[in-house]
């Protein structure tokens, strides 16, 4: 059986909303970084490090990383519960899906810690 225990917020409506809010945050981040790099061609290390040392930029990056974490959790949960199912893969599907879900959460945690290490290690 596919349960909701491993879904991000346990509520479909809340997941739906988090998916949209995180998408807006990530889109804003992509647009800002792209615009900044386009406006500063041949940017130096000093300028790039200075930008990313600003508390506001660090928080924007961290907020984006948190958005990625929740967005990926919800999205990959949807994909796994749609395709890694008993109907499509047979009786072992439930176990395989749980292993993949744990792996997905582990990767997300590594990404989070790595991002914090990068941002606060400048």
């Amino acid at each position: 059986m596919v349960g909701i225990v491993s879904s991000f917020s346990r509520s479909g409506v809340t997941n739906w909303l988090i998916q949209r809010i995180s998408a807006v945050v990530m889109t804003a981040y992509i647009l800002f970084v792209t615009a900044y790099l386009l406006a500063n061609p041949g940017i130096s290390y000093a300028q790039w490090a200075e930008l990313n040392s600003l508390l506001s930029m660090r928080l924007f990056s961290l907020l984006t990383m948190a958005s990625i974490a929740s967005h990926a959790w919800i999205g990959i949960w949807c994909v796994l519960t749609d395709y890694v199912t008993v109907r499509l893969l047979g009786p072992k599907a439930d176990m395989i899906r749980k292993v993949l879900q744990v792996g997905m959460v582990a990767v997300i945690l590594v990404y989070l810690v790595w991002a914090i290490d990068i941002l606060w290690g400048i």
């Binding site: 059986m1 949209r20 998408a23 807006v24 990530m26 889109t27 992509i30 290390y45 000093a46 790039w48 490090a49 990313n52 990625i68 990926a72 999205g75 990959i76 994909v79 008993v86 109907r87 990767v107 990404y111 790595w114 991002a115 990068i118 941002l119 290690g121 400048i122």
Partner: protein
């Protein structure tokens, strides 16, 4: 328990799918690729901020064919996923979801827009 006799009405392998279906499944595939591509992005961000030496190394590094390919793959997957995602946000606000036709049209617009962005990314990546 799972009822094995439960009917499955849509056998996707036997029907011709509309453009909206391809845009949807590509959205999922590009999302999964982007999830793994984030490792490449974080690696580049790490090198760009670690030290002046690693920052200066980046230009040569991304010119390596294997690195270029993974960065390009991550960027175009992210580009497609973002454009297709914006289409969802637009539809969530009630624009263009009233009929199958408008859904099909917005799907084609998403395809055209993402192809344009992918073209820009590809020409940028090829200049490395």
């Amino acid at each position: 328990m799972v009822d094995k006799k439960r009917p499955v009405n849509l056998d996707l392998g036997t029907i011709r799918l509309p453009i909206t279906s391809y845009v949807s499944i590509l959205h999922r595939i590009s999302g999964v690729i982007t999830f793994f591509g984030l490792a490449v992005m974080l690696w580049l961000l790490d090198l760009s901020l670690d030290s002046e030496q690693s920052f200066n190394m980046l230009k040569d590094l991304v010119a390596h064919p294997a690195v270029t390919f993974f960065v390009w793959g991550s960027l175009i997957a992210l580009a497609y996923h973002t454009v297709a995602g914006i289409r969802h946000l637009v539809m969530d606000f009630g624009l263009g979801e009233e009929s199958f036709n408008s859904g099909r049209n917005s799907a084609w617009i998403a395809v055209a827009l993402s192809l344009l962005v992918i073209l820009v990314i590809t020409s940028w990546v090829l200049s490395w």
